[in-house]
């Protein structure tokens, strides 16, 4: 292992890693019989369907287009007939607009390069790359689903100096990025090169947590061939993979409150995104599938699957030999930041990184008791906030105060709630505060 292991200085916790599926190679799951494609698959406005009921579509064909600056195209992940354009269930239990496709065969669009050859030369120039990434509907694969092309276009006056590739994967249980780095290392490095070219930077750092020595060594070996890419091992500490934490750890730069990483000359992309960029630019393949970890202590065969977007989660559960009887909660994402699912009819979307089947006994929350002023939450907050104060402000609907105390800087990592000895749902109230303060700010800006 190389020395010089870095970390962020403020706060953080050490949850059990439980990377049960770390040694399971990525398997491809069969195409579903019916694909449910929600229109809201990015952080911004939902996409607009451009196909009609009864249309035949091919894999990779554009079926919905961006409806604003922060919005993305959506391509059909399957081939077949559009059954209907209707509301479909999303992870929260609400109905959202989507497209349902009845799968017939697996007929790919001709423009997509399906060969296994690795294409090294980057033919496109910066502008063309960004255009390509926009056209192919790429979003941040770490979970926030921010459209990738927007990040590649720094606002006027700001210049990117570093590209950071986030291979930290600090969430316990999840291993999709880990497996991707092991199996598609070369593609990720080429993807990184493409992103560097798009941003016109010559320095890139791939940050990886120290609990993945195989991935670190593998990428260090491969990176010798690529100029300007440095692999940076990081200490195992949650939330090392937070954008701001990663920048602080790797470059010792601090993103100012309320500002984006570009303020300190950084652009951060996930390794999954780097891989998707390689596929989009070199192979002309839109974002139609992704790696999803299906794991849990009761799961017989914790696995990493390459899944088409729109596959119902039930199919993934079936692929790990069914739902264990001891399951108490099904979580979309990791145990720290993921949200409990209300149904298994929900499809895989561009931002799904994992499905965690939590055991009944560990899934139950402890009853809440009064705050004992131990200040543990303040101590572990990686953003230097005071969660006890913010949650109280949100609880009492004092949103002005929450705003003044910088609730919007909360990255929702959940460290405070994880560490709270009184089991106060701190993160719940912080999220409430963020929702309300965010709405207040938007209303104010509208006027």
């Amino acid at each position: 292992m190389t020395g010089n292991v870095k970390t962020f200085p403020l706060g953080g916790v050490h949850p059990q890693e439980n990377k049960l599926s770390a040694n399971a190679p990525i398997e491809t799951i069969p195409v579903p019989t019916q694909a449910f494609i929600p229109m809201g698959q990015n952080l911004g406005t939902p996409s607009k369907p451009i196909v009609n009921k009864g249309d035949m579509v091919k894999v990779g064909q554009l079926i919905a287009e961006a409806s604003g600056f922060i919005s993305t195209n959506i391509h059909s992940p399957v081939s077949g007939k559009v059954l209907k354009i209707d509301d479909i269930l999303d992870a929260t239990g609400y109905k959202r607009p989507g497209i349902i496709i009845n799968v017939e065969g697996d007929d790919w669009d001709e423009s997509i390069d399906l060969s296994n050859d690795i294409k090294e030369d980057i033919e496109l120039d910066s502008k063309q790359i960004i255009e390509k990434i926009k056209e192919k509907g790429l979003v941040g694969m770490g979970g926030a689903t921010f459209p990738t092309y927007v990040k590649l276009m720094p606002p006027p006056g700001k210049v990117a100096e570093y590209l950071l590739i986030n291979g930290v994967e600090c969430e316990p249980y999840l291993t999709s990025d880990h497996r991707l780095m092991l199996e598609k290392g070369k593609e990720i490095l080429i993807g990184t090169k493409i992103l560097m070219k798009a941003l016109k930077v010559d320095k890139a750092i791939i940050g990886i947590e120290n609990n993945k020595p195989d991935a670190i060594n593998h990428l260090i070996e491969l990176a010798k061939k690529y100029d300007g890419i440095k692999i940076q091992p990081l200490k195992v500490q949650y939330p090392q993979g937070g954008e701001k934490q990663l920048i602080k750890a790797a470059l010792n730069r601090e993103v100012p409150s309320g500002k984006l990483p570009i303020e300190v000359g950084c652009v951060v992309q996930n390794v999954g995104t780097a891989f998707a960029v390689y596929e989009a630019v070199q192979k002309n393949k839109p974002l139609i599938d992704r790696v999803v970890t299906v794991t849990g202590k009761g799961v017989k065969k914790p696995s990493n699957f390459l899944v088409r977007i729109g596959t119902p989660l039930q199919d993934l559960i079936d692929a790990v030999e069914g739902l264990p009887e001891t399951t108490g909660k099904i979580i979309n994402g990791g145990p720290m930041m993921g949200k409990a699912l209300t149904s298994l009819e929900v499809p895989v979307v561009k931002g799904s990184s994992g499905i965690l089947l939590m055991e009944e006994d560990e899934s139950k929350r402890k009853p809440e008791s009064p705050c004992i002023r131990c200040s543990k939450c303040t101590y572990v907050c990686p953003q230097g906030l005071e969660p006890f104060l913010l949650s109280k402000a949100a609880k009492l609907a004092k949103f002005d105060m929450a705003e003044k105390e910088k609730v919007m800087d909360c990255i929702e990592c959940g460290s405070c709630q994880y560490t709270c000895p009184a089991s106060i749902p701190l993160l719940d109230y912080l999220r409430l505060g963020k929702t309300m303060v965010g709405a207040n700010i938007r209303n104010r800006n509208k006027k």
């Binding site: 209300t342 749902p425 109230y429 999220r431 409430l432 929702t435």
Partner: protein, 317 residues
């Protein structure tokens, strides 16, 4: 010695005199002339400072009433919901104006998705806040329009008028309600509405705000409005409108004939404070009926779409 005392008294007295004169002139120069009626009106108000009138507290309401009475010579649009007609009459007397009698209002919870009617499919663990839960997920019963049962409305009530019924999992309004609107604003799903209290507290309303198609709504809740339009057809007063698969009874037009209550196949329409109807012995509206209801629903849901058949279908009842 004497000298010092005299000087001190004279100096202080002189200073006091000068200050008094200055203050007198300042006071008369910057005098705020306030209508004494404002104080009088404020005195007659309930002093609850609840904001139900739309003004920040009773003083502001008093100022607004006096100003409007002076400028426009009427008190239309101003109402103290807590004090009701009595208080508004007194206010009118003070200002020498006639005040129209207002029909008293009461908060109505338009959801009957109780634990029995809309059984929990998942368990919620987390912050006891409807606003938070609303942003997080659809609800334990699965209805994205229904009551979340975490009691934001109960917390904001200043009058002890709304309480959570643990058996139902729904809030229940009692007679202490003053229609101050606080719970209406607190509910993130707009379930609570202010409706006419009605003669002897009698009122008829649709206890559902689900705008989903009948089949979907029914899947999550036994007593959802499925948008079958039977009530619209049967209403002799044109009081019921159908929008997005949801019936709404206009309480200004409703004459409390209760025809709609009888035809509703899911018992989504509620009647409150009525005596049981005499002529039709087998009907008991307030109790959910088992088998027969379920049968009718299947049929109604099937032809709920655009079929305009006979005016009155419910022969099978």
């Amino acid at each position: 010695m004497d000298n010092i005392i005299i000087i001190a008294v004279a100096a202080l007295g002189g200073l006091g005199l000068v200050a008094a004169i200055v203050l007198y002139f300042i006071a008369s120069k910057f005098k705020v002339i306030e209508d004494p009626k404002i104080d009088e009106v404020e005195e007659s108000l309930p002093s609850a400072n609840c904001g139900g009138c739309g003004y920040p507290g009773c003083r502001a309401f008093a100022e607004a009433t006096v100003k409007q009475a002076k400028d426009e010579k009427h008190l239309e649009g101003l109402n103290c919901p807590v004090g009701g007609n009595d208080v508004m009459q007194t206010v009118g007397k003070i200002l020498g104006l006639e005040v129209e009698q207002q029909a008293p209002l009461i908060a109505v919870v338009r959801c009957n998705g109780s634990k029995a009617n809309s059984p929990a499919k998942i368990n919620y663990e987390g912050a006891t806040s409807c606003t938070f839960a609303h942003a997080l997920y659809a609800g334990e019963g699965g209805c994205p329009y229904g009551c979340l049962g975490l009691g934001d409305c109960v917390i904001v009530c200043e009058f002890d008028a709304i309480h959570m019924n643990d058996e139902l999992g729904l809030p229940v309004v009692n007679d202490k309600c003053t229609a101050c609107n606080a719970c209406v604003e607190a509910c993130p799903r707009d379930i609570i509405e202010l409706r006419k209290k009605g003669p002897k507290g009698r009122r008829v309303f649709v206890s559902c705000i689900n705008e989903e198609k009948g089949g979907i709504a029914k899947k999550n809740c036994e007593v959802a409005c499925i948008g079958c339009s039977k009530c619209v057809k049967v209403c002799p007063h044109d009081a019921i409108t159908m929008n997005n698969f949801l019936a709404y009874i206009d309480f200004e037009k409703c004459k409390l004939c209760r025809d709609c209550v009888e035809v509703c196949p899911t018992n989504a329409i509620h009647e409150v404070n009525f005596k049981p109807k005499k002529p039709k012995p087998p009907k008991e509206d307030s109790k959910p009926k088992e088998a027969s209801v379920v049968e009718t629903i299947a049929e109604v849901a099937a032809d709920a779409a655009p079929s305009n058949e006979n005016k009155e279908a419910p022969k099978e009842n």
